[in-house]
Subunit: 363 residues, 2 copies
């Protein structure tokens, strides 16, 4: 099947660009001396997780219980749930995952949740790995006080059904700070604090075997700190227009591999065509899609309601019924909008990979 003949809106993944991004990140990890546990919240795709495992990734980071289930079901190992769990249904499903023999660990940021996890482990008869999450200035999840971190780690270590593995420290709020020097300065403040926390844990006999974190925007800074044992980047796989426009501080070698294809469905004014991709076809939180393959010269996109976008341009219009592709401004929530990647090489569709664990998919 040809790329131009796919029903739209559709999600295209350039497999060669993807593989070059994967190779580049594997090489960075080796050079920096850290492990890779790339984040499934970006790709939600078993096939991509296996491609990462093939270049040495030690596991898969997962944001949700559904992602962990899908990755375990797809045969992936080294699963780490990076968001704290709290609801009964989350604990019950974690228990079922353990009973199925999944290799899964999870983060925790409160004693109450640790007690819940201990019960899950006990009732499944399987030891559960836990990682204490630290709030490193984001104000989101994670323990705030060092005394809490040490207490939860100690409690985890003391429980025979739990296996204390270490800590998670992820500064999501710093990933796209510009310029890079300012990003490095702000990360440096957290790195100093993190070093102090690791020292305190070590003093208490709780030295972390794993220190996990790092995203596409700060991985080189974080790894260079010497504190992290592994990294959880995800966006490097796709390189949306936001990540594509920032300085990563090194010759990262990442390129855009993800595109949304849309069809020109109307052309009744000079200098403008209308495509069938609007607010439902893109994540809209981080700016506008960028016109790419098939777009007229000088094309810019803007939203025109739920179902449409306007492409304004100078010069000759794209033909009615033809396809225009767009680079999304935010890859993770855009991927979540589609049931599958159409895997492309040049103008050909060579495969179709399901997007798994979309929101609300298990209930």
């Amino acid at each position: 099947m040809l790329r131009a003949d796919v029903a739209t809106p559709a999600l295209f993944l350039d497999i060669d660009a993807l593989d070059r991004n994967i190779s580049a990140m594997a090489k960075h990890a080796t050079t920096l001396g850290v492990d890779l546990r790339p984040h499934a919240k970006a790709h939600k795709c078993v096939q991509i997780a296996h491609r990462l495992a093939a270049v040495g990734a030690i596991g898969v980071s997962c944001a949700t219980m559904e992602e962990a289930e899908a990755m375990a079901g797809g045969g992936l190992r080294g699963i780490l749930i990076t968001s704290p769990l709290a609801a009964r249904w989350q604990f019950e499903r974690l228990r079922r995952l353990l009973l199925r023999g999944a290799d899964v660990s999870t983060v925790v940021d409160s004693a109450a949740q640790l007690a819940g996890l201990a019960e899950v482990a006990a009732s499944s008869g399987r030891q559960l790995g836990v990682i204490v999450e630290i709030d490193v200035g984001v104000g989101r999840t994670g323990c705030v006080d060092v005394s809490d971190i040490v207490a939860i780690a100690a409690e985890a270590k003391a429980n025979l059904m739990l296996r204390y593995r270490g800590i998670q420290a992820y500064w999501g709020n710093l990933q796209q700070i510009m310029p890079h020097t300012e990003r490095a300065r702000l990360a440096g403040i957290q790195i100093d604090r993190l070093g102090g926390i690791i020292a305190k844990l070590s003093d208490a006999g709780l030295a972390p075997e794993i220190v996990t974190g790092a995203g596409t925007g700060t991985f080189s800074i974080d790894a260079a700190s010497g504190l992290f044992t592994e990294m959880q980047p995800g966006s490097f796989l796709f390189m949306d227009s936001c990540y594509g426009s920032i300085d990563l501080g090194i010759e990262a070698g990442f390129e855009t591999s993800l595109f949304v294809g849309a069809t020109v469905v109307s052309s009744t004014r000079p200098g403008r065509v209308i495509v069938n991709a609007g607010l439902k076809a893109f994540a809209t939180d981080s700016g506008l899609p960028v016109a790419s393959r098939g777009a007229p010269a000088g094309a810019t996109y803007r939203y025109m309601g739920d179902e449409h976008g306007a492409v304004d341009f100078e010069g000759e219009a794209s033909a009615l019924g033809s396809m225009i592709e767009f680079v999304t401004s935010h890859c993770d929530p855009t991927v979540n909008l589609y049931p599958a990647f159409h895997v492309v090489r040049g103008s050909e569709i060579i495969d179709k990979w399901p997007v798994v664990a979309r929101y609300g998919s298990v209930n």
Copy 2:
């Protein structure tokens, strides 16, 4: 099953509030003397379309080929595709819909597309209803020049395989203009122009049998003009926080029926809890979700990345693992994020209705 036990994020639909909204709109249509062809782009749900048909809706407006297929497959009649079609795959699938005996019409805004539709009708051996779309100041789809409107209508009428039904005029850009008097003034400008176009068509022997358009924000203005034979509203079913906050110019009697349920997964700072619903769980184009059922007093929500939101409040925190529900700021693209509505009455789940024709669902 209890509402509080559903895995989150989840989409809740209060069936009694929904039915009250449906009854209210049916009554408005009767009072105003116009037909109802409510828009499936809002609900994407066969069960809701049947509830609307039960109170007298003459059909279903659809934004995409997938919606038309899903509604036809669900036994709905009077389907009108309200966006112009242009791609080969769209024409081919329209042909298959006709061959299956679907009662479907479509809009058109160019002679080239009309030729494509005529071929579809001829090759299926079934007459196809067409409606000429007029650009009424939106700058999106629709014919701009009156001469084009008349020419396309004439060509449609002259083709035995097509059935010229009338015109579509929808001012989507005016639906939420405030105050209501300004909305009415701006709609009035388009109503005057529309009256002129209808007169020109009538003079040419092309008087429209159908004049379709109108949304939740302008239906009372549009219907009062006497030009419209039918209305296509959708958001009145759910009443998101944007529609809920504007003056509709009449005692509309609509109330919020749609909620997103999320779980409190972390609570490590005073005055703040973290829920597992962020940029992937809500449409983000029209402002922030509004905390509702289960929220602490004075709660406000803000996005904290793809997977989380922060709920800041005064007073006592919601318990870890408990549910907080939110009113979405934009219903249509939020519905598109979920595979199903959990239909609720009070604290009970009484049914589950699939959300059909989500983006990228047919390929």
